[in-house]
Symmetry: D2
Subunit: 504 residues, 4 copies
């Protein structure tokens, strides 16, 4: 079902208070929270907009009803490709991260792993998940996703910490459910989501089986607290702009002995699969970045082109080459997402898993380039995004005429448009909010070094060394030495299978 | 039809002498030519190998017969994807450029443009081309491709040169055909191809219509001369290795009033389309690079992994990160090829045209990284590829024991394998032949600056500026201002159309 | 003379009101202005501190009295080397730009050019300047520097603009002085300086001689207005820290028919030298950057090391390599400054001019790396600088225990120190103030593309081509062809001369 | 004393045969050896040339006689600065590495360490060294330098190797001297040097004291064998060019129980200082690179400028920016050398030790950029360096007119000059010889990763963390907490001391 953004906001406002900000217990109507909430509201609006039908919406594979794409499971390559498209469009509308992908990535992860757990351990997680999914789709739910534990001493494992609560874990099991304790940090949008899906953050050992826990709960569950930091562009008094209406929130999220009923528990003790669950979520989320980050670059590129036009330098070679660099970054990342989608494999639950090499090389390129992209925008824009007088000076009767006279640039561009352009670039690249998204561009979904590890873990370097041995005339010693390039044929079969899947 | 490599070589040897090398008129059996010819022979062998059935072979859309993939037109997205795969496999077998793609890129270009010319100018080029294609497929032809003119003064157009022959042009037309004069440089494999397809190298104006000429002729046609430079790894006396058996040839190719019969002429005077033909070939060839270059990187990566293993440093973090960089380069380029294939559009001739933004961002990334990749291999290998004693020292009775004793590295790796490994890296990264492929990696298919130009020409930056205007609250002034993100919807339609095409 | 910071601040507070901020006419005691003023106050304090004697102070070459180094002219190589040192130390104390260098760079520029003008045009600018310098040193003056005009249409010269006021120019000359009109932008510290030195921003032509004007005036001169934008880290309620006490101000500076008496005019109409004056100031300021930017990198590097230690990852290889990158950037820039100092030449006024090739390659490297350096800090720090809860949450009785428990990292590091560390990194890399300094790092003193132009203008590429010709056996055609490497000998002589100068 | 190149070559030819190449025992007149020998001969010629007086020559501090600078000890900052200059000039004359610096770096190392050994262990190494130095200067000796052992298993220390000979070590001591065994690899110019200085390659432990050995012997000492690999540009038949006359040799150098008399032994068993000796030599050699590498870049830059001029593209923005990149690399490295020289400290032997942070950041920048620089040259030159026909084609009567006609470029540049230019670029960037120098550019003097280690070892990161603590308001805990920035004052004193030393 598709609900309106108004209905969703009303639902938000009915929630119990459990958010701390500025030393106060605040409600979901706190003015600092609103800009972030607006981003999610936008995703409800886009789903109502005929222009985005089939992009921001799709058909539930459960019952054929029309649903928001962010409530969908990826049942086909086309679903994955359209997920990329949908994310990119979302960012074109709000200017930054559109946030709702995380809960969806969690849903897909839970679907795959709950099925695998049932197959291996004869549990009934997948049935629980299916019920949860029905609820999710029926109520057009927005979910946050909590994965990163606070971790304490980085050189010690969860079970080795002085304080056992450094990773979220089960402290009690009852007939009705489990009680969990711990804290997750960097949790985006918890303060304006309906639910939060909680996943383990790493590989666990047998002695850490209490840490192998996954579940989903409403965001106003008792014992759950958000110590929240909200971010948004500086408020506009006069030059209202869509960009300045959107923001975000991140919270240190406390699980202070939170009760979770069994029907909302999707892993509990199967430590052997905790790592797979953590990495599978990362894979979905890195695939999401391959749609999202090109949208962010589109915005940076758009402002670079616009400010170059306003300054009359849009044809100079170095500006053109800078723009080509931005295009290349955006489209290489998007291409990695396409390749990851096209090479996806079907899990036992029927949900498609994007190819992890491509999702990771794409996300890594994004993480490596975000600061460079801001550098490009700023280099072309010049110093004004940092030194533009405050908005009021443009309206004070003494100073307004000075600014109108002296900030003029190319003929035919109004002073107001020049102001709007530079002020918005200031929001993007010269503000606390802009900095949050620079940092998120490095770390969100895992920093480049995490992708480097994932790439190496998923790539067959031995096979490449076999190619080298063949070419150097060195006898190969591997088990597949009858094959000239072992594995290649198999890859191709897999590849063709994808094509078939794709065609269905 | 598929012919054997033996049959193909015999056909080569029957050709007339028109190759100059070392001050001599030499035959196609000259020892310096053989290594390059071996690469083409390999493409005939691979087509005979069941392991590569469906990859290196396919079915002619003309008559359903089995043909070498390099004689094929790309009638589907799958054809484009398999072309990438086929190229990558070829390089795994010979270590460098597998060369035969160029003629195929020319064929596809001629098919598209000859059809378009007929549609616009009521000519019959496409029928001629269809006949030529039948001949090509039936005889399993290998074609070189000659595009780059010698160009004279770079700041002058073809018609402005002091010497009108700086670009190949028609000097005479007769009832039976045309006579052409000029020279093309950097022409690879002309001295071991059956045919050479000749295309214009740039946009032409009306006064340059004699330069708007495309045709195909046998490589031993009268008046055609190759001033050839052959390259190959140093010949091995003892440590024979596949890598050292393959090479290449590039020639300044002289058209000294060459006669071309009408049935082999595919453009003659339609100057308006010369640029499109030139760029379309570039597009096909840059798409080819998106399959080829990952194969080259696989080889570099394989030797990096191998030499790291032999030195016992394959687990050190900086080596692992270097390898991840190589993987990222290879797979981002390959992903760009996949995205270019998946987003291809069907031309009026039925042949698919890869998306030029993706083919260009992929090729550009390749061109920007080739030197860096050799740097990585060399950094991990250490100085020995440059300072390894000559082969003879490993067999002289005084010196061989010294080398056996002192070049030992990790236990369990034989002295011979160490020698083979470093000697092959020397071939790759420390030889004239290796340097040729570094330079080809920069310039082959167009240097990064040419792709930069192509990317900018094919990308809608204005649309991105419209996104910026919307976000900044600036009124948009374009013709599509009713659409929030003009063109996006349309792109999606196109995109979906591709999916449909793909599914057929 | 050295005055105290208290005395200086009192002098500031006696100034007339001419600052607009937030729509108000405000005084020099406005709370947003104080953090920036603190930086200048610090430079007075450092001069009083025995630890910095000889670094932050020196002896006037006019009268031998002890003066602040920022009132000094560079009479020797040692002066230039100590200027670098003094700047670096200043940044270690305030964390960012120490600002007072600009006025000093202006002083040195005026000394050199006023002398040259007198020599060429028989004027008496240098005598005026000498008087001004005495006043400057005697009163321990702080001067801002205004160079960058608002420029209007970037593709038109000053005289071609629709509005002639787009560059500051003389509108009237009287017996007593001149009247100037126009506006300069990005003018740092105008609102907390005693004086402002005004220089032309570019080469001028004869028809632009009214634009060839240089002068110095008190910052509260009638008709001078600052439309000011102040920046500072977020104010601390509890975790007070030096870093958070300092800030900056930049203003669009309006010259609304400002009268300048003749004794304060140092160029007026000598358009032929406007470009030399503009570039000479740039050279001094880029040399200043070669001392300043290493200090900024020291701060970034210090926080990178500190946060790595607190997280227990300071020995991991990738963190170590990141730190080495930061060291290399800092020390290559500092080395460029040293080389620029050692290769300085003495001007006719006796003031040393740093070598422009070295000052420019140093500044360029700084401008190219600033975003990368923040990226390194942020990559090592993780996401917490962006998601750390507000200060109040650390003091609220419900939330403080959670944060104390859950933000613990390595044993032995207190929760407060962890908070302080991440909050300060937030100030540096995740705040509007931090962003201002990223942008200033790109553009301050001229962006990398301006240095690229300056490098090419000052470098003898023809001489390098002569080396190539010699090596290739191509006959050289230049006027110096008797010399094997023309100019080299001469360079060496110049070089030795510097050594002699240096030794004096 | 200065001897002529003729006298030196004659001395070479009197040596005993101990070189193996191509399976033969060959003499020092072998044609493959001559190009390398020419480089050394050039250093004798330059010392005779009045133009280089004071650059390539200097005055012995022992007896005041005029000596070749490569026989000199660095007794002052000026000596270090002139060493840089001399190296750069040498490369302008031969196009590549001028090789003779290595022996000089070894001499300076031996002087410093032999003195320190005597001070610590009451030995008489320094007296022996002084005698050796007299002999060296009196006979105008050229010495090779052998440091890098073959190393066997990289993960094991010298004493842990299965074969104890993997590092050169003392196998016997007698009344008259010592007997050494082992092998050193990558030993440049051993086959055309008078002497070879042998140093340990790493830190040694007590059980490895036999490996702590340093000595100097004639290159035709009994038991010493060179398994040599010679490299040179392709021989020219017609287009003779200085570049093509010079080359190099590298050898696996075998010490097959070589006797060394005590007067030539400069360390024997003092394992505690083996590491310092190894690193000090590295420091001198990295300082040498800071003079050498800018010369190599001058040559690359010269050919880039020349080929751009010949092609008429020397004013295009991207070519200009590429040239600026080359200038920046050359001059930043040179500046690092100047800073290293200016900040040198005097050792107890009186010899100056360059600052290791600056020598290492300089050498590291060189090693990181060499492949990029060739990439730039090749990108500007286009494909012709790789595809230029062989020299003979330019003289064959059939083909010469074609080449003359078709390789013409800009008017006024002769066909021969175009050929010479491209052929020389081919030698530089498209030949086995060129590749040797690419690899040497990465590894010679230690690869970038070795400099990274050295930078981190010599840099006070803790001090930078103290700056961060101060700024963040964190209490500092170090021993120097009374000092705000501990160590800084001291650095300045040291710095000033250098200035004094410099002035003497």
């Amino acid at each position: 079902m598709l609900i309106t953004s108004e209905a969703w906001v009303e639902r938000q406002l009915r929630m119990k208070k459990n958010i701390y900000m500025g030393g106060q217990l605040v409600g979901r109507d706190h003015p600092l929270i609103v800009p972030g909430r607006n981003v999610i509201a936008m995703t409800y609006d886009m789903a109502q907009d005929p222009k985005y039908k089939g992009i921001c919406t799709t058909t539930s594979h459960l019952d054929g009803s029309e649903i928001n794409r962010w409530c969908n499971l990826h049942m086909s390559v086309e679903d994955l490709l359209t997920k990329q498209k949908s994310t990119r469009c979302g960012i074109h509308n709000c200017g930054f991260c559109m946030q709702r992908c995380m809960g969806n990535d969690g849903l897909n992860t839970l679907s795959v792993i709950s099925k695998e757990l049932d197959e291996k351990y004869n549990t009934d997680y997948h049935k629980r998940f299916q019920e949860y999914l029905k609820y999710f789709q029926k109520n057009d739910i927005t979910s946050a996703l909590a994965q990163t534990d606070v971790k304490g001493d980085r050189l010690k494992r969860p079970a080795e910490q002085d304080d056992p609560d450094m990773y979220v874990h089960v402290v009690k099991k009852t007939k009705d459910g489990i009680v969990v304790r711990g804290a997750k940090c960097h949790i985006t949008m918890g303060v304006y989501a309906d639910e939060v899906i909680v996943l383990p953050t790493r590989v666990m050992r047998e002695e850490e089986k209490d840490y192998a826990v996954a579940f989903a709960i409403p965001t106003d569950t008792d014992g759950l607290y958000f110590l929240n930091r909200a971010s948004a562009p500086r408020e506009r008094k006069h030059f209202k702009a869509p960009l300045a209406e959107y923001g975000s929130s991140d919270a240190v999220t406390i699980f202070d002995d939170v009760f979770v009923p069994w029907e909302r528990v999707f892993m509990c003790g199967e430590y052997q699969e905790a790592g797979r669950m953590a990495l599978l979520f990362a894979n979905y989320h890195r695939h999401a970045y391959c749609g999202c980050k090109p949208g962010v670059t589109d915005v940076i590129m758009g402002f670079t082109e616009l400010v170059a036009e306003y300054s009359g330098i849009e044809r100079t070679q170095h500006v053109r080459h800078d723009l080509a660099d931005l295009i290349a970054v955006a489209e290489l990342i998007y291409a990695a997402g396409i390749a990851s989608s096209v090479n996806a494999v079907k899990s036992s639950s029927g949900v498609m898993i994007p190819d992890p090499v491509y999702s990771n090389v794409g996300r890594r390129l994004a993480g490596e380039n975000i600061y460079h992209e801001h550098n490009v925008l700023v280099a072309v824009a010049g110093g004004l995004p940092a030194t533009l007088p405050f908005e009021d000076e443009f309206f004070n009767e003494k100073t307004a005429p000075f600014l109108k006279k002296y900030l003029a640039r190319k003929k035919g561009v109004s002073a107001e448009d020049i102001h709007r352009c530079f002020r918005s670039i200031g929001d993007l690249s010269c503000s606390g909010f802009g900095s949050v998204w620079q940092i998120a561009g490095v770390h969100g979904g895992g920093s480049p070094i995490m992708e480097t590890i994932a790439i190496l873990a998923n790539y067959n370097l031995k096979e490449k060394a076999e190619i080298a041995k063949y070419l150097a005339g060195i006898e190969r010693t591997g088990p597949d030495k009858s094959e000239v390039f072992p594995g290649e044929k198999k890859n191709l079969e897999t590849f063709k299978e994808h094509l078939r899947i794709y065609k269905k």
